[in-house]
């Protein structure tokens, strides 16, 4: 490759931003993705216990060395404040293990040595005589694991080693993913249905009116997302503007105010509002370039307006539909803020589940696996976008 002249200059100009994006953006994504399959904590904190368990096949109790190492490594981890990194993952494999581990870590130092570490630990907590307890530690000790992906896809490893679907009531993530896709699709179609006519109106109005109408699309586009979400809360809540208006007009009785927020209706309405400009703007820029003479020509050739629209106008706006539709869909499937604020229990999407596992359940591996699935979907759509429309043709406002 020749690295001189204009080519080298061009590359050199893009390098700083590339390096910056690489460090400040791609590296964090990499860190996140690695967490979905790489979990070294337990292996690092209980190395000797795991070594002693190596070769134990889950039949009967593990060797005394495993008990002895654990009795030493648990209190040490507690002192070094790394116990929490062990307790979480093991607890996820066997419910109740957090308590067993933390209590044991605390009590083993003060406990009286009962002749063998096996007896001592079992004396502290009978859970230590169950092979399952040790199997959970062993499994959590694996540095590389696919179990987060299995869980994210509602799959599980069967006792015989095969992989199968989880029982119906514990399938959570695939239905949520479907819901996210359906909501995104619904929002995209709604945006198209509302956005297409108004983009057409803006594109065909005389310049002055067109500018004014365009402004009405751009003001929401520039307005803070949080402000727009707040606005919908103000409008939609039970004592909000719309309900009060309906009651004042006598359309609904005061006792039967509509529930339009903190559910899917809230998510749908607010998301459509927020994303509508992303549909209108690409449509508008395509429609503006269609000469009005085309429709006139179709009409003069005897086409009625519907035929003219279907055969002449619509095909020419397809690039705009594709650009707007893909953009809205991409933004919609990653939506977080609006569902979190107005979605209630039923209006939550996959992003909210990721946030839940990061902030509340601390199941970072699962959050990372869900994130990578979402990310793959977005990258796929992004590639389609760049193929069909071209990234460098993206325009703002």
């Amino acid at each position: 490759m020749q690295l001189r002249g204009p080519r080298a200059t061009a590359v050199a100009l893009t390098l700083p931003l590339l390096a910056f994006i690489g460090l400040s953006f791609v590296a964090p994504l990499g860190t996140l993705l690695s967490k979905s399959a790489y979990e070294p904590n337990v292996a690092n904190i209980l190395p000797r216990t795991l070594a002693a368990l190596d070769g134990w096949d889950g039949d009967g109790l593990p060797p005394e060395a495993a008990f002895a190492s654990l009795a030493e490594e648990l209190p040490k981890a507690r002192q070094e404040r790394t116990l929490v990194r062990v307790a979480g993952p093991v607890n996820r494999l066997k419910s109740g293990m957090r308590r067993v581990l933390t209590r044991t870590a605390r009590q083993v130092e003060k406990a009286e040595y009962a002749g063998s570490w096996r007896e001592t630990l079992i004396g502290i907590n009978p859970a230590w005589q169950e092979p399952d307890t040790w199997l959970a530690i062993q499994a959590a000790g694996a540095r590389f694991t696919l179990r987060h992906y299995l869980q994210a896809l509602d799959l599980e490893r069967r006792p015989d080693g095969g992989i199968g679907l989880r029982s119906e009531e514990s399938r959570i993530y695939m239905p949520l993913l479907w819901r996210t896709l359906l909501v995104s699709l619904g929002v995209t179609l709604l945006c198209l249905a509302i956005g297409y006519p108004i983009a057409h109106l803006i594109a065909t109005s005389p310049p002055k009116r067109s500018n004014l109408l365009l402004l009405m699309v751009l003001v929401p586009f520039w307005t803070s997302l949080l402000v727009r979400t707040t606005a919908w809360i103000v409008l939609l809540q039970r004592q909000g503007v719309i309900n009060s208006l309906l009651v004042a007009l006598g359309i609904t009785p005061d006792s039967e105010r509509l529930e339009m927020i903190y559910n899917m209706t809230g998510t749908f309405t607010a998301m459509t509002h927020v994303l509508l400009p992303f549909m209108v703007l690409p449509l508008y820029s395509v429609m503006r370039s269609i000469p009005p003479t085309h429709m006139a020509a179709a009409a003069s050739l005897g086409a009625n307006p519907v035929q003219g629209f279907m055969r002449v106008y619509l095909p020419q706006t397809l690039p705009g539909i594709g650009a707007g539709g893909l953009l809205v869909f991409i933004l919609a499937i990653g939506y977080y803020i609006t569902p979190a604020l107005v979605g209630g229990r039923s209006g939550q999407l996959i992003s909210n589940m990721i946030a839940y596992h990061v902030q509340t359940s601390l199941n970072w591996g699962l959050a990372a696996a869900l994130s990578s699935i979402l990310l793959v979907a977005v990258i796929g759509l992004y590639l389609i976008y760049s193929r069909l429309i071209g990234i460098d043709r993206m325009r703002l406002g």
Partner: protein
């Protein structure tokens, strides 16, 4: 982590924060170097946090020169665990629930507090004799009694009002949405009480799988109508807006809305779940350990506790502080009848078993979230 110990200096205490922001370049701030000594105290927000600020944060700063930065949270150990796990502790003191305090202590993510070393009672009583029985765990004492009750707004319920915990679950008699905390705590108890389990058997029933299923079945019966809240400040807001017909809530928040905002709310004490808040826990690994210790000692003075009850209807856990419970600071209302521990409010009250909860908190949280998603 790696925050340099700030220089204790009363003079440097925040003379001009804005100036410091503008001059102290962002990179310098990255090191977390705030000039004045300060600690970050994390509490429950809203009117309860305000009560603590008035009752003793201000006095603490005046006495020690240590600034108290207040942050809100909604309970649970997730953030503390995450900070300790990530090795980036920036919370110094957290106002935990009793069950969580025990859990956190077992995990080694909070510093144990020796209750015997805390300030003596008003008349010089040894601390351990002064705290009420059941209010002290191995890892620190609880700070106050509060109650989870349910309340309604008379503006939206006319005619015969709800009076029992059964009414809360009765959608036929009282159709409309319900507010509940997004947590199994207290909700499982409410469900069983409303399902006819005698008070003294609630935890025994919860201890069985069949009992748990029974509790969740009862919750199922109103699930579609529930709006889940997280912050204690939300229920009064939802009641005022008519967003829900009734809501569970912390009694002090409803009290404050009644007296300060003159909201026509009514507390239903029947089936209240009486609980202990605290300990004020110090997060392990904080770089401001000494200041945090000072703060916890200060907060555990009988006077600090008693002053809180001038601002919100929560009662102190120390016997000697009880004598100081007096009148509401602004309206002059006598506080005693509004306390969750007042005899007339205790006719059918369940004492929350924080030991049971510390044993089962994590499993219940998991089960509850799985149930919620379905």
């Amino acid at each position: 982590m790696n925050k340099p110990n700030p220089v204790p200096s009363k003079v440097a205490a925040r003379p001009n924060r804005a100036l410091r922001w503008l001059t102290g370049l962002p990179l310098a701030m990255a090191a977390g170097a705030l000039a004045a000594e300060s600690i970050t105290v994390v509490s429950w927000g809203g009117s309860y946090a305000r009560a603590c600020v008035e009752a003793y944060h201000k006095a603490f700063t005046a006495e020690t020169g240590i600034e108290v930065l207040l942050e809100d949270y909604n309970g649970g150990l997730a953030q503390v665990r995450a900070q300790v796990d990530a090795g980036a502790v920036h919370w110094d003191v957290v106002d935990l629930e009793m069950a969580d305090g025990k859990l956190a202590c077992d995990e080694g993510i909070i510093e144990p507090i020796d209750s015997a070393q805390l300030p003596p009672g008003l008349n010089g009583e040894a601390p351990m004799d002064d705290y009420m029985p059941g209010a002290v765990s191995e890892c620190g004492p609880g700070a106050l009694f509060y109650s989870t009750i349910y309340a309604y707004n008379t503006r939206y319920i006319q005619g015969s009002p709800p009076t029992t915990i059964e009414d809360f679950f009765d959608l036929e008699k009282f159709p409309g949405r319900r507010g509940m905390r997004r947590s199994p705590l207290a909700n499982l108890e409410f469900a069983l009480m409303a399902d006819g389990v005698p008070l003294d058997q609630v935890y025994a029933v919860l201890d069985t799988e069949a009992g748990l299923e029974r509790a969740f079945r009862k919750l199922d019966s109103i699930k579609d109508q529930v709006v889940w809240w997280e912050a204690g400040a939300q229920p009064p807001q939802m009641l005022a807006d008519g967003e829900v017909l009734m809501s569970t809530a912390y009694n002090g928040r409803i009290f404050n809305a009644q007296v300060l905002e003159r909201q026509p709310f009514v507390i239903v004490w029947d089936g209240q779940v009486l609980d202990i808040d605290g300990p004020l826990a110090i997060v392990s690994g904080t770089s401001r350990l000494e200041a945090a210790r000072q703060f916890v000692r200060f907060a555990n003075r009988p006077t600090s506790m008693a002053y809180v009850s001038k601002y919100i209807s929560y009662s102190p856990t120390r016997e000697s502080a009880k004598a100081l419970v007096d009148k509401h600071w602004e309206t002059g209302i006598d506080m005693a009848p509004h306390m969750p521990t007042a005899p007339e409010n205790m006719k059918r009250a369940l004492q929350s078993d924080w030991r049971w909860w510390s044993d089962h908190r994590d499993e219940m949280n998991e089960r509850f979230s799985a149930w919620l998603i379905r």
